[in-house]
Symmetry: C2
Subunit: 697 residues, 2 copies
């Protein structure tokens, strides 16, 4: 689909310059130096040749077809050139020029203009305001990046050109190669989702590495990411996650950074592995590109230093991984081959005087143990240690290992040569066990993602008409807020149980309804203008007989009249009194990037004082809903503590899915809260006591 | 105090060997190579000279005094040599030899023997089973470490010789020098606390760096650490913190690793900065040794990459730090000097085309802003960036800055030279903003520690006699568990309010007591053999009149008889019924290393299901107690949510201090729980409902 970039037959450089130090010179030089095999056409009306290549006054003058154009002229001059490109039949344009959205309203107009032109001529744009595009497979470097990456299997995209420069430099220092590289810039046309889709199917790419500050099309990103991550790991940094960070993001790129909760949820729901630092981004990507994905949990540590083994074991546990339980055969074999003082438990301690051969013996034995699913080889440079030879024997034994192998040569100059040998042999060598373990954790998460059943959001046979009626009625009244009986009607239509209830216009009617429902009952003020009923004395609970109902009716109406004199009052809602059960809150908000963001938490103090909630983007499936429930810290309370029976978690999972279906089917729902959903013990269901819903205007 | 090691007049090497590759050769060579100025005596009965120095058959044959002896002969032969050292008047002995505690019972006996000899002759021992001792001030390298550190201001001690080797190698690679270095080995005599005390007063040492797997004398360590951290930062790794790690620790060193909660508490209470990785250990130490300690919060970021600025701002917020609010003057000055597109808010974005001079302008301006208490300079290698020159101008402007300055040159080969210049000029250069920010966090924690008032545990005028009587009575009965009325007597003696109550042997007496206390009351089985009263139906609450009390008495006694037929039954405890208030748990356990470890948490589900508790080691002072209370996640519940009044936090702080005093004054208390302590609203106090106490046998 994006062949114009990854495999163009010819490239024009509009703004190619003879002057060293100019971008138009640097980019043309990069193109030539990278060894692109097709014709390269410098476009410059004031020059006959640039860097030894014949130059042309305009794109249209270039001989033959031009698949790809790189544009470097000032922002204001880009639009007419884009038109020429369109007329010439150019398919892809890389607009390196700045002067668009990032400089304000006028720039934004200019940006819209070039996008319109591109659409008109069926061209795709990278940028504007970017570093360019590099493809090591096509030997194409259409960028002013500070260096050309070596060929490799990592594809990298970056919203920031500056970060991209650092990433290229670090990758080079770590000996990591790339297949494709794109600096997305302002993302006027092509964005992260387009390249994710492209690279997900790219046979040259084993790992996709992403740096973004915002995601443009949240829902499409999620669909594409769900598919891409089935084929290969996607590791992403999303920066601007805290409020301080977000402030910097807006002043920098004008990006409207979505709330971090939505990004966290979206990445988790689509199998995107989130890195929080550039170090993690590289550590994970290096692990994935060089080693097989771990099959299941079970890490074996081989070390010449007990203390380092302890730290590694700590790290394994902190990361939620497990040390492999070595088989009796393994332990017997280790006992036979290692000195008596060595530890044949895991961590396997080959002792401070271990030389390369002893490491070799231990590695050979533990790698045959079926309980061992990953190996971490640790070395500290002690007096007789052989960092180089140990690296060699590790590389020899572990190349093409079916399980991932990581190394930690902990030191400086003494271990440097060993680290080089390991890296050259595709065994990731981290300076500390903690980093190797974090990479293993990322691998195990990815393995579990691969094992996860396909995404299957459920459809429900809901009473769509009833819901539409409620919404229509509200809109007709000029109301966007829906609560009380109307909201309960929506819940009922959605298949969520609600308490028995009825509206009473006077005390007699209230008694009548109460007697139908059965005592005790609750009375609540019924008014379209009163949202927080308790605050104005508009709720009375535990009413046991007709007399209490009458008294409560009078008090509530009086309270409402005196505290909210302007409110329209319909009477009181009489409701079944719900006792027992545990209070749950379910909520939905619209995230600017991802749309409906769902929240789950235990009600009352848990949400307010402990902020113990979880988030997911709708639509979600049963597994998402289940994970959402299991994610809160207070989950033990739902599973039952102190001999209490467990709560009906299935009913919660069902309610979450129904809500997800509702907000997906009715995108006009802006906000929604069920608070509380009372959940009874397992098998006894849940009941929605109150709902508040806001429609989009 | 440890001058025999840090400033010996002469050194003997017992086991000095002519054979290359032997430790006895390596250590002697290290000593000679390091340039020690006093005489060095090889001791070897089979050689006349070793490495050009005259050798002696025994320590006793060495001419003149010998202050320090390094022993390298096999473990079994060490004791007689120690005796000779004693007779010669040696003051310090470094036993590098292995074959002691780490090889089992026989080795442990040998270790005790050499300690006894040392005591007899007033000698101090480093080791056995260690790498040795290095002192760059005395130009002494009495070790077989793989390299001699350069002279510097970091003192480092390590329980693990292997980790020590790595640390020396990494320090060298990072250009960090050391003042002193000790490998503690088995810590038969001198341990971490001794060196902490020594180095706390050492004018040559600015930072103390520690790697330990256990701490031998917890209480003394805390006293010494509290004093040392007033003089200089102490950064420590304690490994073996999780159960997996602890398992490795026991199989490796035979160390009985204390629970991590106790270490965490002890470090926090004494101002020791805890690092969890070797990287943090170095990052923090490098920051402290090269930069002034931050005065207060307020970080300014200067960057040529918006994205990196966002990541740094994120890291600042995640670390609980704040971005400095730049003054209007600063922003005006920046606006004047920087290009219009630059961001003069913090993060200050000098833009991608910034060269060294523009960084210089920005740094000069922000460093004068009184709101700026730390500066983080970030550079990504873009097309016109000058990593080297920017490092130079940063070094020139920021050397001797009164506020800490950190750099992040994010890259590989392109930034390497700049990093070298920064490091050489004592500006810590981290590869990522996150690491710089973690170091700043450590600095701010240390600043707050320095500002903290002196440790002042409070004494209470308690009824010591009453407590002793209860303990004596229990012991006389052969009981170690104390509960019910006895425990309440202890609480009362300690000054903690308890509910009105009395023991009733029969139903009549129960009614009588109830009428004295006032209805409603609680009845509880009174039996020395029944600890969990509710479990056997031994508690009835809310008894409103004489009839209910009689009925409850009968039921409780019957339940106890049938469910615990073997139990001795004293009757029922009649208690004031306590309503309202919030349930708190206070507990104490004995930690093997640190002694009384106190726990605080909200009662009920919070402790059991959410494990939301905090720990401190007793004795503690008011500030410790207050921090302990504020540390739990549910603290908002005590401060008052949803319009509830705040709880009486002062009463909790007081109760914690009283308990701390109790368990410090009565070391025979092994365990203790007040569960619950009912806490009323602010100003209304707290009341201990139930206590359980276990005495040491």
């Amino acid at each position: 689909m994006l062949e114009a970039f990854s495999n163009p037959r010819s490239v024009a450089v509009v703004g190619a310059s003879r002057e060293e130090g100019k971008l138009g010179h640097a980019v043309l030089k990069s193109l030539i130096d990278a060894g692109f095999l097709g014709p390269i056409y410098p476009v410059n009306p004031k020059a006959d040749e640039v860097l030894g290549l014949k130059a042309y006054p305009s794109v249209k003058d270039c001989p033959g077809t031009v698949d790809l154009a790189v544009i470097l002229i000032p922002g204001k001059l880009v639009a007419p050139v884009m038109k020429e490109c369109g007329e010439k039949g150019v398919k892809g344009v890389i607009v390196i020029s700045a002067g668009f959205r990032e400089v304000g309203a006028e720039g934004l107009r200019a940006e819209h203009e070039i996008v319109d032109i591109a659409r008109q001529y069926n061209m795709r744009i990278i940028g504007p305001n970017c570093l360019g595009y590099i493809d090591t497979i096509a030997k194409l470097n259409a960028s002013f990046a500070p260096l050309m990456p070596r060929k490799g299997t990592i594809a990298f995209m970056s919203q920031s050109g500056a970060i991209a420069s650092s990433i290229l430099d670090i990758a080079d220092a770590r000996g990591l190669g790339m297949s494709r590289f794109v600096s997305l810039g302002n993302k006027a046309d092509l964005n992260e989702t387009d390249f994710l889709q492209e690279w997900g199917d790219d046979a040259e790419t084993k790992v996709i590495m992403i740096y973004v500050e915002d995601i443009k099309t949240g829902a499409r990103f999620m669909d594409v990411a769900r598919a891409a991550t089935r084929h290969k790991p996607v590791v992403a940094i999303k920066s601007g996650s805290t409020s301080a960070g977000t402030k910097a993001a807006s002043s920098h790129t004008g990006a409207l950074a979505g709330s971090d909760a939505a990004y966290t949820a979206a990445f988790r729901q689509t199998g995107v592995i989130r890195a929080t630092t550039v170090e993690d981004l590289f550590d994970f990507s290096e692990a994935f590109t060089n080693q097989p994905v771990i099959r299941e949990d079970g890490v074996c540590i081989v070390t010449n230093a007990g203390g380092a083994g302890v730290m590694a074991a700590d790290a394994v546990e902190h990361a939620g991984l497990k040390l492999a339980q070595l088989s009796p055969q393994t332990m017997a074999a280790l006992k036979e081959k290692l000195p008596p003082a060595a530890s044949v438990l895991n961590p396997v301690d080959v002792l401070g005087d271990a030389q390369a051969d002893r490491y070799g013996l231990a590695l050979d034995i533990v790698s045959r143990d079926p309980n061992v699913n990953a190996i971490l080889v640790i070395l500290t440079p002690q007096i007789v240690t052989q960092p180089k030879e140990t690296a060699e024997i590790t590389a020899r034994l572990m190349t093409n290992s079916p399980i991932p192998v990581f190394a930690c040569w902990i030191g400086g100059a003494l271990t440097a040569e060993g680290v080089k040998i390991l890296t050259a042999n595709h065994i990731p060598a981290y300076p500390e066990p903690e980093r190797a373990v974090r990479s293993l954790r990322a691998m195990l998460d990815y393995r579990r993602w691969l094992q996860r059943p396909k995404f299957q959001p459920r459809s429900y046979d809901i009473d769509r008409k009833a819901i539409e009626q409620v919404f229509d009625a509200a809109r007709k009244d000029g109301r966007l807020q829906i609560g009380d009986a109307e909201a309960r009607a929506v819940m009922q239509a959605l298949g969520i149980r609600v308490p028995g209830s009825g509206l009473a216009e006077d005390a007699d009617e209230a008694v009548q309804v109460a007697e139908q429902i059965g005592y005790p009952v609750v009375l609540k003020i019924a008014s379209p203008d009163i949202l927080h009923k308790s605050d104005i004395g508009g709720v009375k609970v535990g009413l046991k007989d007709a007399a209490e109902v009458r008294a409560a009716f009078a008090t509530i109406i009086a309270n409402a009249r005196s505290r909210k004199p302007e409110a329209e009052i319909w009477g009181c809602q009489v409701q079944e009194m719900i006792r027992g059960g545990r209070e749950i809150i379910l909520g939905v908000n619209r995230d600017p990037q991802f749309g409906p963001l769902m929240m789950f938490g235990l009600g009352g103090i848990y949400v307010e004082a402990l902020r113990d909630v979880s988030f997911r983007v709708a639509p979600l499936d049963e597994l998402d809903a289940r994970e959402m429930v299991n994610e809160i810290r207070a989950i033990r309370l739902l599973r039952g503590v102190r001999g209490e029976p467990p709560a009906d978690i299935e009913a919660i999972v069902d309610s979450i899915q129904r809500l997800s279906y509702l907000v997906t089917e009715f995108p006009e729902i802006l906000e929604l809260d069920i608070n509380p959903l009372m959940v009874y013990e397992a098998g006894k269901g849940a009941i929605g006591l109150d709902m508040r819903l806001v429609l989009a205007s």
